[in-house]
Amino acid sequence: MPRSDYGVLRVQRSPGPVSNGANKKPVTGFHLRPRGCEMQSAAISQFADWIAHTSLSGVIVTYEWIIPSTQSVHYMALAVLFSSAAIINLRILGLISGHTPLTRVAQRFAPGIWIALVVMIVTGLVLLIGEPARSLTTWEFQSKMVMLVLVAALTVYMQRRIADGASHWDVAAAVPGTARAAAVASLVLWMLIIVAGRWIAYHT
């Protein structure tokens, strides 16, 4: 199993942008996929290729410290985001901070989720611009983004429910089953997002 992180610093670039003419030929590798999927994949690859040839992308991969440093900031923000989300979800399940009302736990930790998410999107964009093909075109990155949208929507919904006077949720026994299910789903989604993120490094 190659440690693919190492490859990050030795990015292979295609020789030039894909010409429009090249796309008119049938793409043999995709012949089993439906036509729409084929066109979509080609469009994403082309977009990734375009990003890879921007000067910003060139700068990001020229300096070897940029990608590891950016990943470190990405991880630091992840620590804040994941722990904030986990504390709120575990409080809904009655497993943490039992002495503190859920509304107060949410007030304390919800901002951490959104502030850290902004940092993660910014650092994530730097990583994406540096190595667009490695992320945009892989199923690992694509499923990570789908799960991110799902969990963000779920988090907004749950925070609204908590703020809308779900004060009876403060007693763990009174927490409705749907809230418990949502808390478990949120925890699982965040963990799967981390797994998918790590999996991007091993894409072959």
């Binding site: 199993m1 992180d5 630091m76 804040v80 722990s83 504390i87 943490i96 981390i194």
Partner: protein
């Protein structure tokens, strides 16, 4: 010499070989390691921010530590076990890695900081548990902890780019 032999034995063991050569063990262990370490650092950050007086001010310090530190330790055990398993895949190279040594140096300093806080500063916590005035020794412990754990993450992440 004995240490080199020991590392060699781990590397050649069925366990080390499986993690090194299996297609899934390493990424799975790494994912678990990441989930555990972000839980460790995130829960510590929550305590550090309280010590610095930047968050959870309406909560007593002891409540914040009692609520979160058990989770920190649970996650730390998972991070340590998965970390050792990752280490056993190529122990000689990891042992020789300067970046990994720097990471452990900062983890050691974070541990010393935690011990000093626990056995000295925290002794009279009842006096400032709910007070608006946090002793500067507690603020220093919180600030140092934030800095050291950030450095642990930086060097830990960097190891992955060199091995």
């Amino acid at each position: 010499m004995a240490l080199a032999d020991f590392l060699q034995t781990i590397e050649q063991s069925a366990f080390g070989t499986a993690i090194r050569e299996g297609a899934l063990y390493f990424p799975v262990l790494e994912s678990l390691h990441v989930i555990a370490l972000v839980s460790v650092v995130g829960s510590i950050v929550a305590v550090d921010l309280r010590l610095l007086g930047l968050a959870s001010r309406e909560q007593p310090v002891t409540r914040v530590t009692n609520d979160f530190l058990p989770w920190t330790w649970g996650a730390f055990i998972v991070a340590a076990i998965t970390g050792l398993m990752l280490f056993s895949s190529t122990p000689i190279r990891y042992f020789d890695s300067t970046l990994l040594r720097i990471k452990f140096f900062f983890m050691f300093l974070a541990g010393v900081n935690m011990l000093v806080f626990h056995f000295v500063t925290y002794k009279d916590v009842q006096r400032w548990d709910t007070s608006d005035v946090i002793p500067s020794s507690a603020k220093l412990a919180g600030g140092l902890s934030l800095l050291l754990w950030t450095l642990v993450i930086f060097f830990g992440r960097w190891v992955g780019f060199t091995l």
